[in-house]
């Protein structure tokens, strides 16, 4: 699938059938070997209180799923705001890789390249 960044390859392995679910799937066993890219997670203002005020976090992850798994380990309070207890990205949150919503890519199995910016944003919803 072509993206604005042009460098992302999409997994051909079926992903968890719940949109945004980061519960490990069979595909997790087959990550290609190689250096894991360092990416930046942009933290929205309301969530910075859960990660010591950090606006950005630098982590190593080759997919959005592994980025969220890293957050679960390293920033548990922040993670609970992003994913519910089933491991699904909360319904009214959007996760972008650079300028693309992962819903339009490969969900949480969207691959990441060095320097990518993952942005977590509340959806425009509510009243």
């Amino acid at each position: 699938m072509a993206t604005s960044t042009g460098h992302r390859q999409q997994s051909q392995i079926p992903v968890c059938n719940r949109v945004g679910c980061i519960v490990p799937t069979a595909s997790d066993k087959f990550h290609p070997m190689g250096p894991v890219p360092t990416i930046t997670i942009h933290v929205p203002g309301p969530l910075r209180t859960y990660c010591a005020g950090a606006a950005q976090l630098s982590i190593s992850a080759d997919t959005v799923r592994t980025a969220l798994e890293d957050l679960q380990r390293s920033q548990a309070a922040l993670y609970r705001n992003v994913c519910d207890e089933t491991g699904t990205v909360r319904r009214h949150l959007n996760v972008f890789v650079n300028s693309d919503n992962v819903r339009d890519l490969n969900g949480v199995d969207t691959t990441l390249a060095p320097g990518d910016v993952v942005t977590i944003l509340p959806a425009v919803s509510g009243g």
């Binding site: 309301p46 519910d84 089933t86 009214h92």
Partner: protein, 369 residues
């Protein structure tokens, strides 16, 4: 310290706290706390040093429990909110009920999807109560219009009464270890069987310490004209039990409508009970709001509307948006979906609007602390 009347007001846009000296002449308002985030449940815990709790139901970032130890001047998040075990498959949608438990720091919490949690440390950690949360019926309950919520938790010694919409009334007689559906006489208007074992849309349940075994229920009424299978179901909306909730009977005769959400008992008279009848559109009948009071346990009802609007008022009063204080001449309080907070002095004889432009109100609790 001089006792004050303290009100917690959960709204669509955060929590407000109001307090007043005992004559209740004027209330000072603070907030919003957790601004912009809906608050469906609050608790004023007067055991020991008063502590205020509120759920903060963030549709974006999930549920939080807020706690105040300074009488509502400031709130902080507890260390965690209720959460289902990872392998359960359910995810918390909302927090509908917070109640004090037996121990000094014990709390009970009813949530959506309908389940029960307990905390032994003032809300910093929570455990699922499996006897009801994993009940054989739990995966068969269906959400009502407000969601599949456990909204009522009543503790009475070893008995625990739960109200679930739509699940019905569940009773434990072993301190919450096991529960069974206890809905004999509780009707349902939205199913072919008018009296199913479970699945009723219970709106609220209330009890009084001085009347052992007595319970009052506001059920989902409004089915008098139903013409489908099972026939009409008049008067199933307001009910009473005299056997600890094992069976229920209608006390709706004399009300303008048996539909409504809250039901409240007078603090010093178990025979005096208050409801807020609404019509089929969930608004005040004829555009003229009124609280209705029975002083004989539901045998007859009288209308309390002095000071309330006489026309053109079509608000809703939700299930947890009415309460009564415990002063010598108790005052009722209710909040509306149009953001008004009303006080009914002298047990509802005279109504005044305390605040008229709050966000839509979901929850009102009052205590003397």
């Amino acid at each position: 310290m001089v006792d004050r009347i303290i009100l917690t007001i959960g709204t669509k846009k955060g929590l407000f706290v109001a307090d007043a000296a005992k004559p209740r002449r004027s209330f000072a308002l603070r907030g919003p706390f957790g601004p912009g985030i809906p608050v469906y449940s609050t608790l004023i815990d007067t055991r020991g040093t008063p502590c205020l709790y509120a759920s903060s139901c963030n549709p974006f970032f999930g549920m939080k429990v807020l706690r105040s130890t300074d009488m509502g001047k400031s709130f902080t998040e507890t260390k965690s909110a209720p959460a289902f075990p990872k392998d359960d498959g359910r995810a918390l949608v909302n927090i509908w009920g917070l109640e004090a438990g037996g121990g000094k720091k014990d709390l009970w919490c009813g949530v959506e999807p309908a389940s029960l949690f307990r905390s032994h440390d003032g809300g910093d950690s929570w455990d699922l109560v499996p006897g009801i949360s994993n009940h054989d019926h739990a995966r068969k309950w269906q959400p009502g219009n407000g969601g599949l919520c456990m909204h009522t938790i009543i503790r009475d010694g070893n008995r625990v009464h739960l109200g679930i919409s739509t699940g019905g009334h569940y009773l434990s007689e072993d301190g919450g270890e096991t529960f069974r559906a206890s809905n004999q006489g509780v009707g349902a208007g939205f199913a072919p069987d008018p009296y199913p074992e479970f699945g009723q849309c219970v709106h609220k349940i209330a009890r009084h310490d001085d009347a052992p075994g007595r319970l009052y229920m506001q059920n989902h009424g409004g089915w008098a004209d139903w013409t489908g299978p099972g026939g009409p179901r008049p008067d199933i909306g307001v009910l009473r039990s005299d056997d600890y909730g094992h069976s229920w009977r209608s006390i709706a005769k004399g009300l303008p409508s048996d539909f409504g959400f809250p039901i409240v008992v007078h603090p010093y008279d178990a025979d005096t009970v208050y409801v807020m009848p609404l019509d089929a559109t969930r608004s005040c009948p004829g555009g003229a709001p009124a609280v209705w009071r029975s002083e004989n346990g539901g045998e007859s009802w009288s209308r309390l509307a002095r000071g309330l609007p006489r026309k053109q008022s079509y608000f809703t009063v939700l299930r947890d948006a009415m309460d009564i204080d415990r002063l010598k001449a108790p005052a009722l309080y209710f909040g509306t979906t149009t953001g008004q907070l009303w006080i009914g002095r002298e047990g509802g004889e005279q109504w005044d609007c305390l605040f008229d432009s709050l966000p839509p109100i979901y929850n009102v609790k009052v205590a003397v602390a």
